[in-house]
Amino acid sequence: MSRILFFMRQPLVVAFVLIALLLYLGQTLSPGFASGGQVLRLLIVASLLGIVAAGQNVVILGGREGIDLSVGGVVSLSAIIAGNVMNGADSGIVPAILACLAAGAFFGLLNGLGVTLLRIPPLVMTLGMLGVLQGLLVVIRMGIPSGRAAPGLSGFVTQPLAAGIPGIIWLWIMIGVLMAFMLHRTVFGHRIYAIGSNEHAAYMAGVPVRLMRIALFMTSGMFAAIAGLCLLGYAGSSFANVGEQYTLASIIAVVFGGTSLAGGKGGYTGTMAGAILLVILQSILTTVNIDESGRQMVFGATLLLLMMFYGRGRAMRA
């Protein structure tokens, strides 16, 4: 019995039970909600969020109040860069991927340097970087058109690639497998948990803490850049601040996945479930026929309710 209770309290289990319940609720409210095509569409949207959340996840796992508020800005920037580099031509896809990854890595590097060398708290550093990125977006937007996605990229994101499933979902599954392998089977992954649970002990044990932290922020920037690229493929062309919503949504997906904001505890599989959960919830709210105001109130209240299942802090004890 206690084993079942333990099982039921695993964040992953909670997330999947909630996902099943929400799908059922959606199907009851609007028949066809849980149909194959609709679920695939939900998964495409979830994969965009999930890819951003992968980077957010490693930064948070790395601890010391690790958080990346600049991901939304990087997503928007990457969508613009990609749109302009490829500008509707398939031949431009590879250069676009390289350009986006470079931009993501660059801003991640700046975040990492500020956090490690100057010891600025990650929240402050990445918040400031978000402001810089938003300013940069305005500059770029004034100078050049937003650009178009190449048909190859749009096809990859929206059309079935293999077994009737779009390429981006395969990509997400691959990222999920790689993240699980990286976190649990490599030295790099073990070191993330090490610096996340006790930075000082990790340092004494010879972990290059600063380099690790810089690498984590660069990883986060590059994942956000990939998501921006895919987002361009999904939308066809980029529009103002297309990535803004991903900042806090990615943090919520990580929390719903059972990763502690204190660092050192959690994993990516749960985050994937968290991203799906968040997207389904939003989707149900758009199918239900209520005002924007009611939708937001229900969304906020539901988020609070769901948080009750996850990572509540421990009660104070003397």
Binding site: M129, Q134, V138, I252, M297, F299, L303, G311, G313
Partner: protein
């Protein structure tokens, strides 16, 4: 010999002592420097009239930064402060309009606005301190809820505030601009608050929650009170933004939340809690306002303004963190 070796040490110690006693000094230096820069690029901007205008525009951000400061004292954060501001803004505008816009209506609406702010703060306090949800995500969730409520009260921006209200806010009383009375009242309020036990308790909880609990402090009620203060000052900030914009807008505060956090950091307070000053946050908010104004008066091309502002804020944020650490060391 002895004197020579001692002199530099006492001087360094004096600087540190000064920083310890007035941790907001770096922020003050930045504000003065920005004022001078403003004056350099546009001498007119240092006139009494322009400064009054600057103050009445950024008074809302000053109050919101102060709201944020009290929760950050306790090591928490309030990402819903801007949403509370929007909610109170639309609530008082709609109430004033419905009740006819007379003096009585205005005062009654303001009283209800304060209560609404306190209620939002109470909700935040309960979910963060009593239910022990993580402050960043929990207050983000409540901010979505508050924004929804604001949209329910007023779906689109535009309902005007009664003339009596904004004329008073932007006008003069006995020859002195009204906003200076607000500033004076604020200073008195902050002085009174800084003498209360609550502020010390908030700082104690932020410094070491476990230790505070073990020494007998009621940690949960204290953190809830921090959020109540935050809700109260967010409501006051809403009054100022209503006076400044003279209308209701359900999304007016959305972008201000992150600025309020930035202002607190600029003021030298520690985001991890346990250390900080409200005066620093006040100066931090003014710094953000002055940066925007300097960038404008410098003649920066319009498309570059946001970028330069973002860069300047990032730089002073770093300066704020480094200076704050220096003072605590």
């Amino acid at each position: 010999m002895a004197e020579i070796t001692i002199t530099p040490r006492t001087r360094a110690g004096g600087m540190r002592k000064l920083l310890e006693r007035y941790p907001f000094l770096p922020a003050l230096v930045i504000v003065v420097a920005l004022l001078l820069l403003n004056g350099f690029f546009s001498p007119n901007s240092l006139s009494y009239r322009s400064l009054t205008g600057l103050l009445s525009t950024y008074m809302a951000l000053v109050l919101l930064a102060i709201a944020q400061t009290y929760v950050i004292y306790a090591g928490d954060i309030d990402l819903s402060a801007g949403a509370i501001l929007s909610l109170v803004n639309v609530a008082i505008v709609v109430l004033m309009e419905r009740w006819g816009g007379g003096a009585g209506a205005v005062l009654l609406a303001l009283a209800l606005g304060l209560l609404l702010g306190l209620a939002c703060g109470l909700l935040n306090g309960i979910v963060v301190a009593a239910l022990r949800l993580q402050a960043i995500v929990a207050t983000f969730a409540t901010s979505i809820f508050f924004t929804g409520f604001a949209l329910y009260i007023l779906p689109v921006a535009g309902t005007p505030a009664p003339a009596l209200f904004w004329r008073t806010y932007g006008g003069r009383l006995l020859g002195v601009p009204f906003v200076f009375y607000i500033l004076a009242g604020l200073v008195v309020l902050l002085l009174v608050l800084s003498r209360t036990r609550l502020v010390t308790q908030l700082l104690a909880v932020g410094d070491d929650q476990q230790a505070a609990f073990q020494s007998g402090l009621p940690v949960v009620p204290i953190r809830i009170k921090g959020y109540l203060l935050s809700g109260l000052f967010s409501a006051l900030a809403a009054f100022c933004i209503t006076g400044d914009t003279a209308s209701g807008d359900p999304l007016v505060g959305g972008k201000m939340t992150l600025y309020s956090v930035a202002a607190v950091v600029l003021g030298g307070s520690a985001l991890s809690g346990g250390w900080g000053t409200v005066v620093g946050s006040l100066l931090g908010a003014l710094t953000i306002g002055l940066i925007n104004s300097v960038v404008f008066f410098m003649g920066t091309p319009s498309e570059w303004q946001n970028f330069v502002q973002g860069l300047a804020i990032l730089v002073v944020l770093m300066a704020g963190v480094l200076a704050g650490r220096r003072a605590r060391a």
